[in-house]
């Protein structure tokens, strides 16, 4: 809020930004006290006898014309000075863990501070269980941070057990059920601990899709388990049938949801079946003889593909694409017209 306000003030009244910054900083300490760590909570090392032996290395910002300078807080500048001194001296100790924790709380995207922390944990043979306990709330504070997950992988890999991780992931997904880092991490867990065919994993994925049938991350995770875990193939007729039925069931719940349509088409390809095997199903949602009863643009899209492959049915394919362009999906009219244009082009040997 405050940033916006004073960016706006600066823009509207052409006030010097630095002046406003100074005003804002003084105002902010009062107005934003609940969000910002209050000054009395700030940690300074110069007052701490435990750090008395370390000479901090201040930042050389690079001459008279630095680019993208940041108005660091004193707390951050000081802590970074101690971090550089510690790194220069290759110190690995309990107090270094505290220092890196402090820096991470202010700048979780500092890429070498994480590597340095991981090395320190190894060097002092720290309790890795405690590290995970610290990481949990830290990850919740920085939902979009990438380095945290890389670090977590390193720790869990060293611990050699996925115990407790499913619960933690559930907590993370409650905040954002499509968080890319969290799903990537889950995939790493499945791979690291060979959980592909564990019944729980598929059941959990299904529950995520039940919660939100449009969660594409959950659909992708299912694909990862069922196909990715088996070298890119659907392993048996039973699995093919199960996957096709599952996708169809989800489509019937919400026919205009592209996630299960993509899944269905992918499963048919992975099973080596022709797309025409989906024709009757697609017609349930998009019978072109009754254009007022079309329930899914994705069904029309699929039908256009199926008709295009059929002998002498290009006109039907064109009709489906025209319906998409003019009525059911006009935001992609250029794309549907492009597809229509492709139907005119004589097939070249592919």
């Amino acid at each position: 809020m405050m940033t916006a306000l004073f960016t706006l003030l600066s823009a509207v009244f052409s006030l010097p930004y630095r002046l406003l910054l100074a005003v804002a900083v003084s105002v902010r300490s009062r107005v934003q006290a609940p969000k910002m760590p209050a000054n009395e909570d700030a940690k300074y090392y110069r007052d701490d006898p435990a750090w008395g032996d370390v000479e901090p290395l201040p930042q050389d910002d690079g001459g008279l014309h630095p680019l993208a300078s940041i108005a660091y807080t004193d707390e951050y500048s000081e802590a970074m000075g101690y971090l550089r001194a510690v790194m220069a001296d290759s110190e690995h100790s309990e107090r270094v863990l505290e220092l890196t924790e402090h820096i991470i709380s202010m700048n979780p995207a500092h890429y070498t501070v994480w590597l340095y922390r991981a090395k320190t944990l190894r060097e002092i043979k720290a309790d890795l269980g405690r590290e995970i306990e610290w990481l949990n709330p830290t990850a919740l504070q920085h939902l979009k941070n990438y380095q945290i997950w890389h670090h977590r992988q390193t720790i869990i890999d060293a611990l050699g057990s996925p115990d407790g991780e499913a619960d933690f992931i559930a907590t993370m997904l409650e905040q954002d059920s499509k968080n890319y880092h969290v799903w990537s991490y889950r995939q790493w867990l499945v791979q690291r601990f060979s959980l592909f065919d564990k019944e729980d994993e598929l059941t959990w994925t299904e529950s995520m899709i039940e919660d939100d049938v449009r969660n594409n991350s959950a659909w992708n995770h299912r694909w990862f388990l069922v196909v990715g875990g088996h070298s890119g193939h659907l392993e048996s007729e039973h699995v093919v049938k199960r996957e096709l039925e599952y996708a169809k069931y989800a489509i019937r719940k919400a026919p205009q949801n592209q996630s299960p349509w993509n899944y269905l088409k992918g499963a048919v390809r992975a099973a080596g079946l022709p797309s025409s095997s989906l024709k009757d199903f697609a017609l349930e949602f998009a019978d072109m003889r009754r254009p007022d009863d079309i329930y899914s643009s994705h069904a029309l899209d699929l039908l256009a593909d199926i008709y295009a492959e059929e002998e002498g049915n290009k006109e039907e394919a064109k009709k489906a694409l025209e319906l998409l362009a003019t009525r059911f999906d006009p935001i992609r009219a250029h794309y549907w017209n492009y597809r229509k244009g492709l139907l005119e082009v004589p097939e070249t040997a592919a």
Partner: protein, 433 residues
């Protein structure tokens, strides 16, 4: 007044003055302390700032000669003794740096990529860049599976993720410093281009996009970075095969996926109206606000049109772009989706007009710049990528840009004119290649 004219008059324009003010402020004053989380991305922010002013045509006016030289000097101060650039002064160990502790102030691929972009933008000749050392580093940054990391750590371990962002930056740096040449150049070995192409191919997803790693979810950012990397490496699909592995095994599916990124879900309200209602009718589906209304389009709306003006359907006025299936539109994905379409020479499969209107009417900010979502405050990344897209769409008054490098065509020409580069590529004898 005819309705068409009213619409024109109401339409928001690119507010040049505000954008220039926004970017000059980013250039010349401190970023507020809330940017502390970007302390190690300063080179990236700096490249956005300099390049944005260049796209706006303001760079010559914004900088004095002394400032230009000062900024070039700052970038060179971030060059590491062993070659490559740190992404910010934050990791500089200064006089205490030694062979033992230098792994904490390492070669950084983003630092290097964006440093080179800034130098090119500011008209430097890159003569002081340790070019051979950088090219050596790139080979160390490549993992055995062909992908690239962010940095090289202890015992030459490649650190950071293994996704196409790093491959994109590595490929761009390679192109800047040695063009399209494959194999050893000037005694410096090449990266394994074939292995990288295979790494891209295995990240293709069942729905046609590209992901972070095999079987991960398709994502606009990774799709764009992978396709840009293939472009720099001259490994995009071609009609005629030449025996070299080329990326993208199923172009029609990739185009389908990219076209599917256009969305009418533009703010949280659009997305929220169907949550916890998963019953089985089209009326309760995601995008139902578009689907059901479009169901009546154009028949009822058509009656309202007169003077042969095609009716602008309210929902078609603004079209956003998202980065994944069933996600909300977001300014930066306009770039991450349009850039690959342009590099694949298929930008015509989308209609730029409603996307342009969405950027100008909904995510452009009063003080200049663009926010991520409507109503969001501007930030350098979204503000820069918004400008990139408008320039790619041919917005009047903006300089032409190079889609993949994210600098103006003028700046790219400067790079291509540098004598050392022309000599390396053997262009001086043969003239323009």
């Amino acid at each position: 007044m005819a309705p068409g004219l009213t619409r024109e008059a109401e339409e928001r324009r690119l507010n040049y003055a505000a954008h220039i003010r926004y970017w000059r402020r980013n250039l010349k004053t401190f970023l507020p302390h809330q940017y502390t989380g970007n302390d190690c991305n300063r080179m990236t922010l700096a490249a956005f700032i300099i390049s944005a002013l260049d796209i706006l045509g303001d760079l010559p006016a914004a900088l004095s000669q002394e400032e230009r030289e000062g900024y070039i000097d700052w970038v060179y101060r971030c060059q590491l003794p062993g070659g490559g650039f740190r992404p910010a002064p934050a990791t500089d160990l200064g006089p205490l740096r030694n062979p033992e502790n230098q792994i904490w102030d390492p070669f950084h691929v983003a630092g290097t990529f964006f440093a080179l972009l800034i130098l090119v933008n500011l008209g430097d000749d890159l003569e002081k860049v340790k070019r051979r050392e950088i090219l050596q580093w790139l080979t160390k940054l490549q993992r055995s599976d062909g992908g690239f990391g962010e940095t090289v750590g202890e015992n030459d371990r490649v650190e950071g993720g293994n996704d196409s962002r790093f491959g994109f930056m590595a490929a761009a740096v390679r192109w800047m410093l040695r063009g399209n040449l494959e194999g050893p150049v000037d005694g410096v070995p090449d990266i394994d281009v074939d292995a990288f192409v295979r790494c891209v191919q295995v990240a293709e997803t069942y729905d046609g996009g590209l992901s972070e790693a095999p079987y991960h979810e398709a994502h606009g950012g990774f799709t764009s970075c992978a396709i840009s990397a293939l472009y720099f490496l001259d490994r995009l699909p071609r009609k005629q095969t030449d025996g070299r592995p080329r990326g993208l095994r199923n172009m029609p599916m990739t185009l389908h996926w990219l076209a599917s990124r256009q969305t009418l879900t533009l703010d949280e309200e659009d997305a929220a109206d169907t949550y916890s209602d998963e019953t089985d009718s089209a009326a309760t589906c995601h995008d139902s606000h578009s689907f059901m209304k479009l169901h009546n389009f154009p028949s009822s709306r058509g009656k309202l049109s007169f003077q042969n003006q095609p009716p602008v359907h309210a929902e078609l006025k603004w079209v956003g772009m998202n980065g994944r299936e069933n996600k909300i539109g977001d300014t930066c994905y306009a770039y991450w989706v349009c850039a690959p379409l342009k590099l694949l020479e298929h930008l015509h499969i989308i209609d730029p007009k409603p996307i342009r209107r969405w950027l100008l009417d909904r995510t452009q900010h009063l003080v200049g710049g663009f926010g991520k979502l409507p109503g969001d405050h501007p930030d350098p990344q979204h503000s820069f990528l918004g400008l990139m897209v408008l320039s790619m769409f041919g917005e009047a008054g903006l300089q032409n840009v190079d889609t993949a490098l994210c600098i103006t065509e003028k700046a790219k020409k400067h790079l291509e004119s540098l004598p050392w580069r022309r000599k390396l590529l053997g262009l001086d004898d043969k003239g323009e290649a």
